[in-house]
Symmetry: C2
Subunit: 476 residues, 2 copies
């Protein structure tokens, strides 16, 4: 253990033990340096580690404080989706959500956009505009079908943080995580097959299931532990399931991270029933835990996990740079990738590779983790303040998405319509189910720095919900 | 008729009537200006038109000459593919061709790359590196699912040249023509369906047919008139065909352009049997005829044609900017586009839109048409010189691809293997058939400016072919 880690560990355990309380000012850097007989730089390093761990929080010109950690909100209960494979529907509502982000003047609270305004992205912008110097025509030529070697090397390097040891040749670059997911789903299924999914589940993979003539078997999912392994096992016994598609780390929309033991158990289950696992790790690096949690892929001993991810949530979605590490299904995924788009756009790949290589990725990640952690706590507080009693809220372990379950019979599609005149859109819950569940739920986005406008919008949503409740009561 | 058009028409008919012969020097600009009593600028304009029409050719510092037009080579006969729907195979050979372009030191004569070194592409490079000024974050955000409005507007404007009147809302931007093709194919079929294709046919769409569990019905195709409408009609009567996929203008690999009357008849046939037409127009703007031929889409009165194209062949494939105009299937294509890649990379779209808007597209196109016309004639001459008697050659009406049919039982897969030690790769014919036809054929690329290296390579291919012929003779 390095010196700064020792200091951090000691201070951390004092915080954990309640020696310092939430909001307390922590000892000054100078004082700690004297107390431990270490350099100022070492203490600074220690504080940065505590910050990464979500324990300490700097305040400008006044030192470090114990991070205010709100009490865990009242969580949703474990989900209870339909108990049979179903065709996916609700494309028209997905389309509506996708288009809502494009309307000027509309505050789209439900979309999946990260904050792209951070100054730590500036070097990426420079890399994009400069292209590869001295190799200026490369962006004009077809890239390799598998993706640029430079980028695959960087992705392989980053994968170590998730406990993986990928080789650049294991990786196939894709046009966003969406292409990774759809190529993976197609690679391991035939039309008519069943895919088991966590529930609620990201609508992009669900719509791919729909498009390829597959059925989705939604598995009950716990807002803390993720997909129910018990229910999954039953489903595997009962239905001709070919693949399990999950987002186990910083789940969209529920925000949980499956504990490591459960990730391991999921791999065993997949082995026992000889099915593939399609792991969506797009928010994994945005975990509030530091170092980040291991991916399911890191426990994959017989190459049956197809890891899918992209830079859309950590960096910028407009680049459309994603990847898959498809294990034993690599050839099939390459075929699907060829058929789908032949190659991905060359320049964005080279720019991202350069940005990572020069250390920009880690710098930006550190910044965004802190911002999103703050954003989470503030949005939870606002929802608790403005929404009616009985509202349940997820407690995201990373990323920037919140799941809210409303009391009573409130239909969030209707809520969305009623919010339209106010220029506010939420993400209706039905998008996240094949079977029309989650009508009383919504997804919110806390990626933007907390603002008065956002607070007002949440207040407005709360008011509308209260009114709908009263109307329902009146009818009943 | 404008003044310069009158001058051009008169001069053109003198050339057609043999008053000036191939290679003759044409009257000087000054002389013509005096003769017709028009300005020097008008004559210059007239000569540019004759150049576009492939009649005149400028020589630096020496004026205009009648273009040397070689005699039409001995064309391949009409193709005779299998007479039933088949599953598509040969993915491994496609993969091999795709990868051959990536090996340093290999001259890949069979690939589908345009010349990306032309100086007329410089403004595109600038547009790419500058991004949209004053809107620098736009490249980071998800683009609209349908594609950037700016680009759709430019594509709609360009479509007028092909006789279409598309509205920007008719257009869906895609990640290359490949995505346009695969989304279109998926949008109009169900697994198990049959798609009729011209034969030989582009392997990208064939592999999409394979990937989606469809069957390909290869239709005999004439190297001058394109897909046989008579054979197609028989097939439509006999098999459950859901769509017809063709590349009717500057076909890949055969180079023909279907005459307008046949394009019209194809639409009638599709109407009669109520099937969709998927028209790949990726080389259409590179037609040597000026103005360019009309697309099938321009005759589409009931919105059953899905037009697919991209900027990969006219500008640069590494951008991955393509589009579809899917007519009545727009919603289905949008769904497939969402499922496949969600959105396309934003910046390349904006750069292409700016390049077109500022006139760079037409300028570049004019340059490339002239270069490829020259390239075609020189490569035909080289093949006639170096290849054995009995070799048949296509006579491309646009684009930069040549189809060569070898005499005897020569297997071009084997030829390719034998060329490997010389660092030369050709495009084996089997890639262009579902049923393993065209073993004795190959595709060559004449996009690069003719060079000694290319001439040597063609000579080497010719030598190898001669040797193989002798070996076959010896065995027989
Ligand atoms: C869980 C999840 N997977 C995949 C995607 C798609 O990512 P990309 O934009 O990289 O295609 C998203 C985006 O919303 C997502 O939330
Ligand atoms: C006829 C034809 N269609 C489509 C494509 C694919 O084009 P893109 O690179 O834009 O996906 C090609 C490329 O080789 C082609 O030749």
């Amino acid at each position: 253990m390095k010196l700064y880690e020792q200091v951090a560990t000691e201070l951390g355990s004092r915080i954990e033990q309640g020696f310092y309380r939430c909001g307390d000012r922590l000892p000054s850097i100078r004082a700690l340096s004297r107390e431990h007989g270490v350099s100022v730089a070492t203490v600074q390093e220690a504080y940065r580690l505590l910050e990464d761990q979500g324990l300490a929080q700097p305040k400008p010109k006044s030192g470090y404080y114990v991070r205010l950690r709100p009490a865990t909100p009242q969580l949703p209960e474990i989900s209870r989706p339909a108990q049979r494979p179903l065709e996916v529907s609700h494309w028209e509502h997905v389309l509506d959500l996708l288009c809502s982000g494009e309307t000027p003047g509309v505050l789209s609270l439900g979309r999946g956009m990260p904050d792209i305004t951070a100054t730590t992205l500036k070097p990426l912008q420079r890399a994009l505009s400069e292209g590869k110097r001295g190799d200026s025509l490369r962006g004009f030529a077809y890239d390799s079908l598998q993706g640029s070697p430079e980028l695959r090397q960087q992705v392989a390097r980053l994968s170590i943080d998730a406990g993986c040891k990928l080789h650049p040749d294991d990786i196939v670059i894709t046009t966003g995580c969406q292409e990774a997911l759809s190529a993976s789903i197609r690679a391991v299924t035939q039309p008519g097959d069943v895919v088991a999914v966590d529930s609620p589940s990201f609508f992009g993979s669900m719509q791919a299931i729909k498009a390829f003539g597959l059925k989705a078997m939604e598995i009950p999912t716990d807002p803390v532990n993720g997909i129910s392994l018990e229910a999954l096992e039953l489903a595997l016994e009962q239905w001709p399931i070919r693949a399990i598609q999950v987002t186990p780390t910083c789940n969209n929309p529920l925000g949980y991270t499956m504990p490591e033991t459960r990730k391991r158990q999921l791999v065993s289950l997949a082995q026992r029933f000889d099915v593939a696992i399609i792991e969506d790790d797009i928010y994994g690096d945005l975990s509030f835990q530091f170092p980040r949690p291991r991916s399911i892929k890191s426990f994959d001993i017989d190459d049956r996990v197809l890891l899918c991810s992209s830079f859309s949530k950590v960096l910028a979605p407009g680049l459309r740079v994603g990847w898959a590490a498809p294990g034993r299904y690599r050839d099939q995924v390459m075929h699907m990738k060829y058929v789908g788009t032949a190659a991905s756009s060359t320049l964005p790949q080279l720019a991202v590779a350069e940005f990572i290589e020069k250390g920009g990725y880690e710098r930006h990640l550190r910044r965004m983790r802190a911002q999103y952690l703050d954003g989470r706590d503030q949005m939870i507080a606002a929802v608790e303040r403005y929404f009616p009693a009985g509202t349940r809220i997820s407690y995201p372990q990373g990323g920037f998405l919140l799941w809210v379950e409303l009391p009573g019979d409130i239909d969030t599609l209707q809520l969305n319509d009623r919010l339209q005149p106010n220029g506010i859109r939420i993400g209706p819950g039905v998008l996240f189910s094949a079977s029309g569940k989650y009508r009383n739920c919504m997804r919110l986005n806390f990626s933007d720095k907390p603002s008065a406008a956002q607070d007002r919008a949440l207040q407005q949503v709360g008011i509308e919900v209260q009114q709908m409740l009263q109307e329902i009561d009146r009818v009943a």
